[in-house]
């Protein structure tokens, strides 16, 4: 049976993929490149620009990859939730579950040379850029195996080789940085673009409009992506913004409103945006998305919205469910196979957590490394001048 053959093709490579990043393409022996055309859930709405078509081309491999990757992201965020509750992750932890489609769709449309910069809800974007589960969990728990050696934390994930620029704690401050990345790309004439992501809360920051003005003035290849999950921590968007149509706020800068829970809509929009900015200067993409958790782990998430609303969105618009339905509709895998993929994701996450727990905490001299690029060759002391002496490199 074609199904059985396919299922064996699915299950075998899974075990070998456990130690590496889950984002490697698994070999599918059948129907790899058949084009499947998918319609986005809703049409795009444009401001000062024509909208891309609702039909998106994809293929079985991409569909399965979307499902697998999103399942992994979802599992990672839920695991982070329980790690936080068991006090292994401290401080602030902002979870991305519900919004995975934005990361997945964006990655499908761009290359690793295009830059992404975002705020503090960065775990899944880091994973999408090629970061490993081990690096994520180790960083969250403050261990040396983390992507920033444990010195950054949840809000400071970076991956330079994949052009992922973080990971920023101050709301809105990453937008001028993103325009700076775009400036450098224009300066070097490389033909890449920058996706500068921010939330509906940050959309009211002045520096965003300052940066947008400059990007539009100099035709910088900057795509401003507003991940509108409708709540700026506890404040609903209609209570914070006179005009919550964030894609229109650029005025002279064109904008596009996208259903952020539909990975294919996101993919189409990002592809369109990339082509647009390389010719015409900046564009704003508003991703209409939703977060299931509260703003962060310290926020229950239910004081400013009803549980019915949350479960309603989960039932009707969940990004993983959408892909699951598509896969089942196109007969690419069975229910059981999909469940197995989710189980595999769970297993990988658990393994990564176990490995991350083994990673040591940073040593005391690490306190003083990487403050300056090349130190001054002087000794550095702790507050009492007796301990923590180290020679700066």
């Amino acid at each position: 049976m074609a199904l059985a053959h396919r299922s064996s093709g699915l299950l075998k490579p899974l075990s070998t993929a456990s130690s590496s990043s889950f984002l490697h393409r698994r070999p599918y022996s059948t129907d790899d490149t058949t084009t499947i055309t998918v319609e986005t859930s809703v049409p795009f709405t444009g401001h000062n620009c024509e909208t891309p078509s609702r039909s998106v081309d994809t293929n079985p491999k991409e569909l399965m990859t979307f499902f697998t990757d999103m399942a992994l992201m979802r599992r990672m965020e839920i695991a982070a939730d329980s790690l936080y509750k068991s006090k292994l992750i401290r401080g602030f932890c902002h979870l991305y579950d519900g919004q995975e489609a934005v990361s997945i769709g964006m990655e499908a449309a761009i290359t690793k040379k295009d830059c992404i910069i975002t705020a503090y809800r960065d775990h899944c974007l880091f994973l999408g850029r090629g970061g490993t589960l081990l690096e994520s969990f180790a960083e969250l728990m403050g261990r040396t195996a983390g992507c920033s050696n444990g010195k950054g934390g949840s809000m400071h994930f970076y991956k330079k080789e994949a052009c992922f620029f973080g990971g920023h704690g101050i709301v809105g401050a990453q937008v001028p940085l993103g325009c700076g990345l775009a400036f450098a790309q224009k300066y070097r004439k490389e033909g890449h673009v920058t996706f500068t992501m921010y939330g509906d809360g940050a959309a009211n920051q002045g520096q965003l409009f300052e940066a947008l003005n400059m990007a539009a003035l100099w035709d910088l290849p900057a795509i401003l992506v507003c991940e509108n999950n409708h709540y700026g921590m506890g404040t609903a968007e209609w209570r914070a913004a006179k005009s919550p149509a964030y894609y229109k706020r650029g005025d002279y800068v064109p904008g596009l409103k996208v259903d952020g829970m539909d990975a294919f809509a996101v993919k189409q929009a990002c592809k369109f945006a990339k082509e647009h900015v390389l010719k015409n200067g900046p564009i704003i993409l508003e991703m209409d998305t939703y977060r299931y958790h509260g703003h962060s782990m310290s926020d229950p998430g239910s004081t400013y919205r009803t549980r019915d609303e949350i479960s309603g969105v989960r039932q009707e618009r969940d990004p993983i469910e959408r892909i699951r339905k598509l896969i089942l509709a196109h007969d690419l895998a069975t229910e059981k196979e999909l469940k197995d993929i989710e189980k595999q994701a769970r297993k990988e996450v658990d393994e990564a957590i176990a490995k991350a727990k083994e990673s040591p905490m940073p040593d005391e001299p690490e306190l003083f490394t990487n403050v300056y690029r090349k130190g001054f060759g002087v000794e550095s002391f702790g507050a009492d001048r007796k301990e923590l002496r180290t020679t700066l490199p």
Binding site: L177, G178, C179, L181, F183, A184, Y187, A211, R373
Partner: protein, 405 residues
């Protein structure tokens, strides 16, 4: 030799209360390496740089100086090596040399391009390098500083100019959180080789908001370096060093020092960012200063010498980190410290320096450290009040006399 001294002496007659006779320039003769005062000491790598500089040459800039024409001494017309220029031209020269050398160096700021810079530091560069490399930004300090930092994360080496240092308060978040901390929070992945520069300090009745000393606000930010230039020689050298450094460097210039004239070498030179400058070696007291106060100190030094004191004047130049090596050696010699700065009394560079010296060199001190700073008031507009806000030479003289009793 005597004619040179006389020439210098005539140029430095001042309306201050101290009378200076030309023949009393005997302190110059102690530095009998007089042939060196016209040429320049090349920076010796590794060792502390020793500079012979007669403060008199810089006296042209003191607010009340009478612009007396010096009889050009014959020795001065002997062709000296180097070329003469003003401080802002020295900054421009350093900037231009670095832009020539490395295509990644770019400038961004308000009116730096077509206008040529509000203090002419970037004049002519936009015509030469184009609008993208010498970028005229809109008035949006927070975001263009952020843009510069983002560009630096991608590998460029921007120089961000604040038209007045006070305006950079709007960019404090970007400077503190992104500029200073990104290298650390990314685990060393990104370096931020920006230079943030601009004029600060108390000018000539510019008003409270345009007379700010931001070095005291920025000094706590981890991950940045701060330097203050005071002469054309060190302005060019520090500018070049700051651009070449992989760390974010804040270069503090002073509004009133842009028209200082000096002869600097033709050869290329780069100064050490973390080193202090020995302006005048001495025995009795160490006077630590930087930027414009250096000139007030040198003016006071003349009076002090006439009264028989021998002050050692060090221009600390590096505001973060302090060059405790040079400073410490000086303290071990003189055992008395006077700090003269333009920052406010509360939380200024002098306050940190006092703490650092007390911590490290307490055993060598014969007297408590005296720190002369500006008053803790917004800088008034009225001329007389403004003068009283800032440390003046008679106060320095009085403080030294008090210290050395």
């Amino acid at each position: 030799m005597a004619s040179i001294f006389q020439g210098v002496g005539a140029a430095t007659s001042l309306s201050s209360s101290t009378s200076i006779d030309t023949k009393k320039f005997h302190f110059c003769s102690r530095r009998s390496r007089s042939e060196r005062k016209a040429s320049f000491v090349v920076v010796r790598s590794g060792g502390a740089k020793v500079e012979n500089r007669i403060g008199g040459r810089a006296e042209q800039l003191v607010t009340n100086a009478v612009a007396a024409k010096a009889d050009t001494p014959t020795a001065a017309t002997v062709s000296k090596p180097g070329h003469e220029l003003l401080l802002f031209e020295a900054l421009r020269e350093g900037l231009e040399e670095e832009m020539e050398r490395d295509a990644r160096v770019c400038v961004m700021g308000e009116d730096v391009g077509h206008y040529g810079g509000s203090y002419k530091v970037t004049r002519g560069l936009a015509e030469k390098y184009g609008d993208l490399r010498v970028l005229d930004t809109p008035i949006a300090e927070n975001s263009f500083t952020g843009m510069g930092i983002g560009a630096a994360m991608m590998g460029l080496r921007p120089i961000i100019e604040g038209m007045n240092m006070g305006f950079l308060l709007l960019a404090f978040n970007q400077i503190s959180n992104n500029c200073g901390m990104l290298h650390y929070t990314s685990g060393g992945q990104f370096k931020i080789p920006v230079v943030i520069r601009g004029p600060g300090g108390v000018g000539r009745q510019l008003g409270a908001e345009h007379s700010q000393r931001l070095e005291s606000y920025f000094q706590s930010i981890p991950g940045i370096q701060m330097v203050a230039c005071s002469t054309p020689y060190n302005a060019k050298g520090l500018m070049k060093a700051a651009i070449r450094s992989d760390n974010p460097v804040i270069l503090f210039e002073h509004v009133l020092l842009y028209n200082l004239k000096e002869r600097i070498p033709d050869e290329e030179y780069v100064l050490n960012l973390e080193e202090a400058e020995m302006v005048r070696p001495g025995e009795h007291v160490t006077i630590l200063t930087y930027s414009r106060m250096r000139y007030h100190v040198m003016q006071a030094a003349k009076t002090l010498v006439n009264k028989g004191y021998d002050p050692e004047v060090i221009d600390i130049r590096s505001l973060k980190p302090f060059d405790l090596y040079t400073i410490g050696n000086s303290i071990k010699k003189t055992h008395r410290v006077l700090i003269v700065e333009e920052c406010m009394r509360t939380g200024g560079i002098g306050a940190s320096l006092t703490a650092a010296i007390t911590e490290n060199f307490h055993d060598y001190l014969d007297a408590p450290i005296v720190c002369l700073s500006s008053q803790d008031v917004p800088t008034p507009y009225a001329g007389t009040l403004e003068e009283w806000t800032v440390v003046q030479p008679p106060q320095i003289v009085a403080a030294v006399e008090q210290l050395c009793r």
